[in-house]
Structures are given as structure tokens and as C-alpha cells.
């Protein structure tokens, strides 16, 4: 018994000492530290890492150019595989590494858990990629988001149907049948629910909603249900594995839809095109900005692509890195203005920060809603796979090509 207790004491001591990093605040005086929470292993690792790379590149860029007031910026990484890990990692960053501002996080549930910790510790949580509306709807004092939330996605879905699809199909909007299929994590569920809500408000006929688990091995039943509903437009929200399955099984089972609207995730990825080949052609994808885009509207994208290739020796897997890069640049701009990592000052400066559309590497403007911290000038664009390339087709200001819809 004595031994055991001594062991226990020792174990506790180990906990306390092994985790006993620095206690003095703010890190070294010549670095500005910012936490970075992304899922870097586990199920979400693919896009989590891609997102992190964007933030990493923005930081490397500024350090190459002399940092902020001669101080280097450092990203302190946390591997947040799921909500539980996000909570623990956010706690570590905030209370152990003395981080005062955190960026993240690709996944909505990770964002929820981590921003909860940040808010309670009065630390700024700056979201660069997660889309669930409720992250900013909570109106937390220390939460900001640069990227567009799910409701902006569905607005683009519906606007695109209203402005482009209806005309190309030669149908009245009220006669267009829309089906929705989505994976059932918070990413798929929020976008699908927002799309359904908005579409029904606009009088668009939603004929079928098919949710499924992202880890599924088979989408034949989804495809058959969709085939039965015979929609004109299919809005799909999928990760990678299910995006591939959906396309392959649709082809196998002879399900064709005139307008296929993906919503980022898998439908954006180079791996997706790699897997399904020319079956990708024609698929639309509503998402953050991608790379075949009107570069005049997205200044700085070329430099980003070059940096990316130099560092990772291949092209980006998707636009996730770009929007995180752009978001991180805004963070760094604001940080440069303030000169120190102080959550309150950063928040104030961020609310004053303005950028016009067409002046950033994503084309997004920046203007934060003081009430909930959401950047109101961000928007998803519509892209289309044309000859194996994901080309921006809508809206006009960023598009390179006309959307191609054949009514057959």
C-alpha cells in the first residue's frame, strides 16, 4: 500500500512537472505566440492539415519580412482530433503555454469546444475555417470568424439556382425540384439545414433530404432514393470518402442530375478528381475560393501558390489552405496594428479593421459584425469541374468561365 501511494504521488508529481512549462506570461519578449488548433490526426486529418498549412505559410511569410516590430510570430500547434481533444488542447495552450489568441480549426465541433475554453479564459478565438453558424451566433465576446458560415453557403446555393440554374434549365424557379444529401456531422447537417430553410423560404421545392453517416461504406440507398425523387438540382455536402462513393455509385446506378451542387469538403479536393476522373466533370462546388479564379480579384494568390509549392513541393490539395492563409493574414495585420497579443485590444482593432472585396488573396472583403464577430464580407463562390480542373464560374467578378449546364 505504501509503495502504491508513493507511486501515485510520484505519478502526480510527474504530471505537474512534466507539464510544468513556463509560468511567466507572454512567452519570450521577442516572439508573439499564437495558438493553432487543427485536427492533425484522426478522421479529419486530411483537411485539417491542409487548413493548417495556410496559417503556417502566412506566418512564415511575415517572419521572412522581418516579423512584427522586429518580433517573430510563432504558431503553437495543438492536435485537436475531436471535441474532447480540442478542449484539452485549448486548455493547454491557454493555461500552460500562456497563449492569448488561438486560430483554428476546420471542424465546427472542434471550434465549439475550443472557443468555449477560450471565452471562459478571456482568450481570443479566431476561426478561419469552420462553418457552423452557431459558433458566432452565441455572440461570444472573444470569438471572431473570417470565413463564411453555413448560411452564406446556402445563400449562394439558392442565389445560384435563382440567377443561373433556372434560366439555363429553362424552368421557373418554382418548378425546380431540389434534393439535398449530406453527411451527418455538424458540417453537413448545418449546411443542409440552412439550405433547406432558405430554399423553402424562396419557394423552391425541396423534394428529398438524405442524411447519412460520413463513415458509411455504401450510398446505394441514398442514390436510389435520389433517383426516385428525380431532382433537377442536387445539393450535396460530403467529406472525401462519401463524395467519391456518391459519384461512383451514382454512375453505377444510372442516377444523373442536371445540376450537381457540391458544398466544399470532398467535392473540392484534388484527390476527389483523381479518384473519379472525368465523372467529376460538370459537378459544381460551392466553396471557399479555389485556384482557377480571376486572379485580378484575388491579388496575392500567385505568391501564395509559389510559397506553398516551395514548402510542400506540391500544389495545394484544395482551397482550404488559401482561406486559412487569407484569414491568418488578417490576424497578422491586426496583430501588427496592436503590437502585442492582447485579446481585448486585438478584438477592438479587428472590429475597426476593414478590407474591400477584391483586395485580398481570397477576394473577400473584411468587416466584422461587432455583435457576433462574423466577417460579413466573406462569401463562398461557385466553382465547376471542367476538364479535370476546378474553375470558378460564379459570381461574375471572380469567374473565369460561364457555368456549363446542359439540359438533357
Amino acid at each position: 500500500m505504501k509503495k502504491f501511494l508513493m507511486f501515485l504521488m510520484a505519478a502526480m508529481l510527474i504530471v505537474l512537472t512534466a507539464c510544468g512549462g513556463k509560468e511567466a506570461g507572454g512567452g519570450d519578449s521577442d516572439t508573439l505566440e499564437i495558438g493553432a488548433l487543427f485536427p492533425l490526426s484522426g478522421d479529419l486529418a486530411l483537411l485539417g492539415e491542409e487548413s493548417f498549412r495556410g496559417a503556417e505559410l502566412a506566418v512564415e511569410e511575415i517572419n521572412k519580412n522581418g516579423g512584427i516590430d522586429g518580433k517573430k510570430v510563432k504558431l503553437v500547434k495543438g492536435d485537436a482530433t475531436d471535441a474532447d481533444a480540442a478542449q484539452a488542447e485549448a486548455n493547454r495552450l491557454v493555461n500552460q503555454e500562456n497563449i492569448k489568441a488561438i486560430v483554428g480549426s476546420f471542424s465546427s465541433s472542434i471550434s465549439f469546444a475550443a472557443s468555449e475554453v477560450a471565452e471562459r479564459n478571456s482568450v481570443l478565438y479566431w476561426e478561419l475555417g469552420a462553418v457552423s453558424d452557431s459558433i458566432t451566433d452565441r455572440k461570444y465576446k472573444y470569438v471572431l470568424r473570417t470565413n463564411p458560415p453555413a448560411s452564406y453557403f446556402s445563400k449562394v446555393h439558392v442565389d445560384f439556382i435563382n440567377d443561373v440554374v433556372a434560366e439555363k434549365l429553362g424552368k421557373n424557379v418554382k418548378d425546380i425540384k431540389v434534393a439535398i444529401t449530406h453527411e451527418d456531422s455538424s458540417y453537413g447537417t448545418t449546411i443542409a439545414e440552412e439550405a433547406k430553410k432558405l430554399a423553402e423560404k424562396e419557394g423552391i421545392n425541396v423534394v428529398s433530404v438524405q442524411g447519412y453517416s460520413a463513415g458509411t461504406n455504401d450510398l446505394s440507398s441514398v442514390v436510389l432514393n435520389l433517383k426516385k425523387a428525380a431532382p433537377d438540382v442536387l445539393i450535396a455536402v460530403s467529406y472525401m470518402n462519401d463524395a467519391i462513393l456518391l459519384t461512383r455509385q451514382s454512375a453505377e446506378l444510372g442516377f444523373k442530375v442536371p445540376v450537381f451542387l457540391g458544398s466544399g469538403g470532398g467535392h473540392t479536393m484534388a484527390d476527389f478528381q483523381e479518384a473519379v476522373g472525368d465523372k467529376a466533370d460538370g459537378i459544381f462546388d460551392v466553396d471557399f475560393p479555389q485556384y482557377s479564379i480571376n486572379r485580378e480579384f484575388t491579388p496575392g494568390m500567385d505568391e501564395f501558390l509559389k510559397m506553398y509549392k516551395d514548402k510542400y513541393s506540391k500544389d495545394p490539395r484544395s482551397g482550404h489552405s488559401l482561406s486559412n492563409y487569407m484569414g491568418m493574414k488578417v490576424v497578422l495585420d491586426v496583430l501588427a496594428e496592436v503590437g502585442e497579443v492582447d485579446p481585448d485590444k486585438l478584438k477592438d482593432a479587428a472590429l475597426k479593421y476593414k478590407a474591400e472585396a477584391g483586395k485580398t488573396s481570397t477576394g473577400w472583403g473584411v468587416e466584422f459584425n461587432p455583435e457576433n464577430g462574423q466577417n460579413t464580407k466573406s462569401e463562398p463562390y461557385v466553382h465547376q469541374w471542367i476538364n479535370g480542373e476546378l474553375i470558378t464560374v460564379w459570381p461574375k467578378k471572380v469567374s473565369l468561365e460561364e457555368p456549363q449546364i446542359s439540359n438533357k
Binding site: K3, D79, E89, N91, V94, E116, R120
Partner: protein, 334 residues
């Protein structure tokens, strides 16, 4: 009572240390780790009653954990019911679920029981994702941060620490009671050989059910603490198979069927997790790769956990002494 305290002087000391700890540990990170440690020790302790003593290897304990979290949170969010009452409701629902699951599955043996518990947990996770009107599905439950004793939400981590400590001590007391009474002996007999236990006249199902009820109730209550501490959770985080695995793992690493094993296991696994997560920022996957390897090594070399190994050390020490003594005697004799 006195003799227990006398016998366990160190236990008393440990208790005092645990009580005073927040006075010395100011880092919220350390407190957070300690809270998680106590939480996991509590749940693993609860699991231990059924899994360790009774030998019923459940990998579905997230059912009770998640039901506890959802019960109190939904009551709080929808009806403004205080989580203090939620604690009771959570325990009740978890116990009901435990009976519902235990009643048919106790007939199953070995891997079949384990697989059945996994299947139950999966069904509940999927239903929870599907039944969005009630549970909000994968959007998860978000409790507003409104500190207050009646809300069971605290600004100070030390308050959570004490809450977790009380919960853990209650679970420890229950396990201690199980260990020292007929219930524990019967459960151990069932674990060793169910058929013989039955032949000896032990009402196998009854004692398994007692273990299940205690285990489920405690786990459900721990779920409430988790919900009130995290303030955000979703089906994937509370009904996750990996979580079930971690609970059982802690009990197994510490020592199944021992009173202090789960605490020991939690004191190893929880910090190990924290340290690994922050140790290899450059290479994604390295942290969990090492975790997997460590797991294999621990269970391979200490299949019964650390507790029996630790208990053996003093004995070995003593027996070596004896050998030495007798050896020296022989020497003198010759």
C-alpha cells in the same frame, strides 16, 4: 472506522494532499488535467465494478456517460431544471438503461457480451445523431456559461476540482464497499467461473445486475459533471467507441478488480495523453502512434495491470530477505 484510518495512514495523507492541492496548483492547465484525471478515475472505477470485479468486459459504457450528459443538459436547457436535480435524473436514466441492456445481455459470455455492448452504444450514438428534434444531432449541446452554484457552472476550476473530488471519493467508497462485502466476492467468483458460481448457489444474474446498476448510475453522474465542465458536447464526443475503450483501458492498466487501480490507471493514462499530444508537433500521427505502442507494451507485459505488480514488490522484497537470512544461516551452520 478508526481502524480503517489507522490502517491507511497514507490514504489519509493522500486525502489531505488532494484537498489542499488547489491551494498550491494555480495553473488552470494543471487543474484541468487533475479534473479530467479524477473524472476518468471515477468512470473507470465505475466500469471496474462490472468489468473488473464481475468480469463483464463492457465497451459500451459511453451509453451511461452520454445519457447522463444529455439527460441533465436537456432538462436544464429545455425546462431550466437545475443540474443538481439533473444529477438524480441522469443517474435514474442511466440505471434504467443499464437494466435494459443488462437484462438480456447478461446471458452472453466473453466476446459476445463485449460486442453486444459495443452494438448498443453504436445504436444509441446513431439514434442520437438522427433524432435531431430532441438532441440537436451533430450540432451538439451548448450550455451557456452562466456561473452559479444552482447551475453547477463555476468560474473557478478549483470548484470543479472539488466537485470531481467528491464524486471520485463517493465512487471510491462504493468500490471499497463492494470490495469488502459479499457483493465483491460473489462478483469475483462469477468472473473466475460463472458456471461454478451458479452451482454454488450464487444468483449470478442478480449480482451482475447489482454491479451494472451501480456502475451505470455512477457513470451517468460523471456524465453530468463532464457536461457542466465542458459546456459543449455532441454525440461523437460522448458516445464515441474510443471513449468506451479509454475508460476500460484505464481500469485495465491500473489493475482490474482492485480498489485503487482505476485511480492509478487514470494517473498514468490522462497525463500520458496530455504529454503525447503536445510532444510531437512536427509530425502528425506520431503522438497516437506512440500511444498505440505503449498500449500494446503495457497490456502485454502487465496483463493484470500495474496494481498487482506494485503489490508484489514488497512481497518480493520480503521473500528475498528471508532467503538471504536462511542462506546466511546455512553458511553459519556449515
Amino acid at each position: 472506522m478508526m481502524h480503517i484510518i489507522k490502517k491507511n495512514k497514507f490514504l489519509l495523507l493522500l486525502g489531505i494532499v488532494a484537498l489542499l492541492l488547489p491551494l498550491f496548483v494555480h495553473s488552470k492547465f494543471h487543474l484541468n488535467t487533475l479534473i479530467l484525471l479524477l473524472l476518468f478515475a471515477t468512470i473507470a472505477g465505475a466500469w471496474n465494478i462490472l468489468g473488473g470485479y464481475g468480469g463483464q468486459l463492457s465497451l459500451g459504457h459511453t451509453i451511461f456517460f452520454g445519457l447522463g450528459a444529455y439527460t441533465s443538459s436537456l432538462l436544464y436547457l429545455n425546462y431550466g431544471t437545475s443540474p443538481w436535480i439533473g444529477l438524480i435524473a441522469a443517474a435514474a436514466i442511466s440505471i434504467a438503461a443499464g437494466i435494459f441492456i443488462g437484462w438480456p445481455t447478461f446471458r452472453l459470455k466473453g466476446p459476445y457480451f463485449t460486442l453486444a455492448t459495443i452494438a448498443f452504444a453504436e445504436v444509441i450514438r446513431l439514434l442520437c445523431l438522427y433524432w435531431r428534434d430532441l438532441t440537436k444531432g451533430s450540432m451538439g449541446i451548448n450550455i451557456r456559461f452562466e456561473p452559479g452554484l444552482s447551475n453547477l457552472i463555476f468560474r473557478e476550476y478549483s470548484s470543479y476540482y472539488y466537485f470531481a473530488l467528491v464524486l471520485f471519493l463517493i465512487s471510491l467508497a462504493i468500490v471499497y464497499w463492494v470490495d469488502r462485502t459479499r457483493v465483491g466476492y460473489y462478483l469475483k467468483a462469477i468472473r473466475e467461473d460463472e458456471d461454478s458460481a451458479e452451482t454454488l448457489g450464487i444468483n449470478v444474474t442478480k449480482y451482475k445486475m447489482i454491479a451494472m446498476v451501480i456502475s451505470a448510475g455512477l457513470t451517468g453522474v460523471a456524465g453530468v459533471l463532464y457536461a457542466q465542465f465542458m459546456l459543449f458536447f455532441e454525440p461523437e464526443s460522448v458516445f464515441n467507441l474510443n471513449f468506451s475503450i479509454e475508460i476500460a483501458l484505464i481500469a485495465i492498466v491500473g489493475g482490474m478488480g482492485t480498489v485503487y487501480g482505476p485511480l492509478l490507471g487514470a494517473a498514468i493514462i490522462v497525463p500520458l495523453n496530455e504529454i503525447l499530444r503536445s510532444s510531437f508537433p512536427a509530425l502528425s500521427g506520431m503522438n497516437y502512434f506512440i500511444y498505440g505502442i505503449v498500449l500494446v507494451l503495457i497490456v502485454s507485459f502487465m496483463p493484470n495491470g500495474l496494481m498487482p505488480v506494485l503489490k508484489r514488490i514488497p512481497k518480493k522484497f520480503k521473500s528475498r530477505k528471508k532467503v538471504q537470512v536462511s542462506g546466511s544461516r546455512k553458511k553459519t551452520a556449515s
